[in-house]
């Protein structure tokens, strides 16, 4: 009874929760966490579509692994940036990071 659309709706739910968090949280690390939620939602969609539409090819899982690699790189650089900015500004509040705002 559970089919492709249920998995896609689960992915959409996770993505929407992550999107809400990215747009409305104040802490930079919390925003990075919400980006991770969004990337996980995309991975669920890749794997579900592979299983239901092109079974046995392994392509969806391959894409998901590439997404995981990029997510790991993104988290490493993002957290390094947060630590680096914290050292200068003594804050992780995104409202204090408006140096480039006109």
């Amino acid at each position: 009874m559970i089919g492709l659309s249920h998995y896609l709706v689960l992915g959409t739910m996770l993505f929407s929760i992550g999107l809400f968090g990215v747009l409305s949280k104040r802490n930079a690390i919390a925003v990075l966490m919400c980006v991770e939620l969004m990337l996980n939602a995309v991975n669920i969609n890749f794997v579900a579509i592979e299983k239901f539409i092109t079974p046995g090819t392994g392509l969806g899982q391959l894409f998901a692994i590439f997404v995981i690699v990029v997510a790991a790189a993104e988290v490493a650089v993002g957290l390094a940036l947060v630590i680096s900015i914290y050292r200068q500004k003594k804050s992780v509040n995104l409202n204090d990071f408006n140096l480039l705002k006109w």
């Binding site: 249920h6 919390a30 966490m33 939620l37 669920i44 046995g56 990029v70 003594k90």
Partner: protein, 182 residues
Amino acid sequence: MNLNDVVAAFVTGLTLSDVVFIVIAGITVLSALGVVLARNIVHSAVFLVITFLGVAAVYFQLNAGFLGLVQIMVYAGAISVLMIFAIMLVMDVEPQETNLFNKSVPTILTGGYVGVLFFAGMTGAIAFTKWPVSSVKAGDAGADLLAGLMLGKYVVPFEVAAILLLVAVVGAIILARGVEDK
């Protein structure tokens, strides 16, 4: 046909794997909400680990065992530890009230509006799309299949990803070490 009949028809139509999916999806979505709504960022990190484990369980249910193991190792293991280390490094106050929403209410409302709109739009799109579901039942695409793809047809993206990871790690080290005062 009253509500009880509808519920009974729904429950008798469920197989064990459907029940497992509903439980896993519920845990995953609730802990994702916990990540966003928790006021303490350490609680958010713990909820994030639960979400990652839930997503890994979804992969196992989708016959993607290798990817589930990668998810547990990379996300629930490495990335969450990295997050918690960063939290410990930048937290100079008590952990309560460290993960609040933005001060301006319009920002929160915009975020909620965009999130709800996205969810409604995508759910509608999913419901109205006719998916070309294949009738082939494939087993678990094991690590050997993925290894063949990665080192065969998709070897260039694989190498690019490897270089990206190397550059990102070196860049992260340089960024986090900072510039020394001379």
